[in-house]
Symmetry: C2
Subunit: 461 residues, 2 copies
């Protein structure tokens, strides 16, 4: 019987991710209710790949698979599932299987698993935990959503700051409850305030009599439990941190965040930005149902309908002009479209730069000036092209001149609005990724139609 290792071996190694043939083999095993085949295929897989597989098959196959392979689902697989699917799978598991699945997880993984579940399911999972673990999880859940407290693990390896390398190694060798994963020893003062950290590699490479304080890493930063996880991820990325202590309001060490947690947050934030820029609710996933997806797409489309009607009102001001010269109706979408695209370019650069804190009060005017100049230069080039196209197409040099001027105006405005609107929104505390698009394209549509049709009314008729 082919197991998943054979199938993965066959595929091009360059291509990470789930091989299509593996998914097909699993669906075959599900269809023929072949438990042995399922075990051979699924047991060797990484939990993240099992989760991806569950997301890629349809709901009926998923239910059958979970029925046949109930014992295979563990806490790690549950952690890897998207929120909606996790809820679905927990409902399909019996209480006994659920307890088995979550019992071996560390407290921060359980937090991650349950924080977005409904109250009933959260209770179900918490009931399955041992008392000590449950207390730790409940303590973490008491911290605000998306805070450093939620992200951190509470198991910390620390040492008094006056210790030597030898004392520290002896202490570690004698401990019998070191965390599963740790890479640093955090130095604390007598008040439990973290003062620095030493990597295990440095510890192993240094003579016993040297003091820990001589081995401190430069890039030491602490976070407060209530600090936003987005700020934590930014700092890990900016300062190349590997792990960082978390302190409470009295500056006492209460946990540690490691780079792998920060990487997940960074990845989520990026996804959120990219989806919000396109007017998609960041919570959405590929496994959402039609109704859920429709609801999530609706608000942005509704906003767009309002702004589109607004742009149409501008056009309707010039109905008589268009009636006299229908060529205007043919050409006007070009002016609006070029402005919209130039504006989207500017706004995307601005939104990204705001997110990475590269666009600040110190350089905003310089960036706006640059974007306006870029709009002017590109606008001038496309104005010449479009002026000639308009002239040749409709045999009217004046029509070519009108579209050329409108094009330059709209592309300059696009540069201005594409940078200025996200910066203003950020200053007002609104997420620029979410709202900029609607504003910028409204501006470029309105200006585009108004400039083109207005100039036409004045210059051509």
């Amino acid at each position: 019987m082919a197991d998943s290792a054979d199938i993965i071996e066959d595929e091009d190694v360059d291509d990470e991710g789930l091989p299509k043939r593996l998914v097909a083999a699993v669906l075959d095993a599900v269809a023929s209710t072949n438990v042995a085949a399922l075990n051979a295929l699924l047991n060797p897989l990484h939990p993240a790949d099992v989760a991806d597989l569950l997301e890629q098959i349809d709901q009926r196959d998923r239910a059958t698979l979970l029925f046949l392979w109930r014992d295979g689902i563990d806490g790690e697989i549950l952690s890897e599932l998207g929120d909606d699917l996790r809820s679905e799978v927990i409902d399909l598991l019996g209480p006994a299987e659920l307890a088995d699945a979550v019992r071996d997880l560390e407290s921060d993984d359980v937090v991650d698993l349950v924080e977005d579940l409904g109250v009933d399911q959260q209770e179900q999972v918490l009931d399955a935990l041992e008392a000590g673990n449950r207390v730790a999880v409940e303590k973490a859940l008491a911290y605000p959503d998306e805070s450093a407290g939620r992200l951190m693990q509470m198991e910390v390896v620390r040492a008094p700051s006056h210790w030597t390398v030898g004392q520290t190694i002896d202490f570690l060798r004698a401990s019998d409850d070191l965390p599963e994963q740790f890479y640093h020893v955090i130095l604390v003062d007598p008040r439990m305030k973290p003062v620095g950290y030493v990597t295990l590699g440095r510890l192993l490479g240094t003579p016993r009599l040297i003091h820990l304080t001589e081995l401190l890493e430069d890039s030491f930063r602490t976070f407060r439990v209530d600090q936003d996880e987005e700020e934590v991820a930014y700092a890990f990325n900016q300062y190349h941190l590997i792990s960082a202590p978390v302190v409470d309001e009295d500056d006492r060490l209460v946990g540690v965040i490691t780079i792998d947690d920060a990487m997940i947050v960074l990845d989520d934030e990026h996804d959120e930005d990219i989806l919000r820029l396109a007017g998609v609710d960041a919570e959405s996933s590929l496994t959402d149902k039609v109704i859920a997806t429709t609801k999530r797409r609706f608000p942005w489309l509704a906003v767009n309908l309002v702004t589109a009607i607004f742009a149409s009102l501008i056009i309707s001001l010039f109905e008589d002009t268009i009636a006299t010269l229908v060529a205007l109706a043919v050409l006007m979408p070009i002016v609006a479209s070029m402005g919209g695209n130039a504006g989207t370019q500017s706004l995307t650069v601005a939104v990204r730069s705001i997110a990475t804190k590269d666009l600040t009060g110190a350089n905003v005017w310089r960036v706006i000036r640059r974007e306006v100049l870029v709009g002017l230069v590109n606008g001038a080039i496309f104005a010449v092209v479009m002026g000639i196209v308009g002239w040749v197409w409709f045999g009217s040099p004046m029509l070519g001149l009108v579209i050329a001027i409108a094009m330059v105006i709209n592309m300059v405005v696009a540069g201005l609005a594409g940078t200025g609107i996200p910066v203003l929104l950020e200053k007002m505390g609104v997420d620029p990724a979410l709202a900029s698009g609607a504003f910028v394209t409204t501006v470029t549509d309105v200006v585009g139609f108004f400039a083109f049709l207005g100039l036409a009314a004045v210059m051509l008729l």
Copy 2:
């Protein structure tokens, strides 16, 4: 004199990134050519923050600052700068300062620093290195661009797979050239093939007589030197790797990649996707000059001009219809705009799902079906709204009906094209983030104008 620590302390701690007041203080010190003040402000900063600061001030101030604070620029600051600015700063430094700056960097950091420089500057930096380091850097530069070989560090801590914990600890304690940063010991077989790895934490927490093979981490993966760095970053993210060995074509261990390197790649890839979706060249940065930016924005705008003209050709087919009923010119952008927005929503979800390998051959038809149904439902809702608006606005129930039908058609097509086009591009080996937008909006513009004006010609005249 205020130094940067005081200023940073004053700011809201929640707000990571460079405080505006710090930038202002640095500019003051530059303006008054006050070297002591510059030292007090800049020396305590993390190299990443110095680099950000250099990016946020203008070119003249930057030149003065570098002249005054020449000795402060080190290799880490150079590494943190964007490509264009790095070149500019290297040109401003004398050969002696450049040599001082790069001499202390590890080989993988030098690779990172020079790989995107011009040949002259690359040579300048290489000349500043010691012979041994230079050989290592040249070896790494021989690997393909954006490969695992470029990303890895060559200093690896390894142990024969038959060793015990005690043997390994003794070996590490006796070594005097352990790398600056390492978190794992890689186990190799006699042919130097990596067979697994053990974390330093596990090593420190385990009795001396236990064999390393009993302590192996589950999530072990190796990469080939020529493998794409994007695949490496995907695997780190998917399988929560902390570090992973890199092997040559004979499966021999040649280096190691750590999660911090992978995080940087992941961050870059995300940026690339988000910018490409908006038609911006991913290489661009906020410090680019007007001409460079104009050139980088131009190609997408040129593509857009062609597609916009194509859409206008469709409109021109219906000039007579529009001449008879100018209301059509007023309403037609609404149909195109709603389709464009719905299409952008679908395509962004599809592009993201392709990047994370969640949208595959196994579920593509299910996702397309969902997107089409979402288009149908939202299309139907907006059709009713827009039908009524059209009827009331222009007093023609038939005009309302025409726009309603066109709206449903265009939003269904948007769902189909928004998912289908990125999937097809991916299959053809074209980056869907780069090209999907132009194709999808062309489809929704053309279908939107054609459906609306065509139905109007048939039903209204």
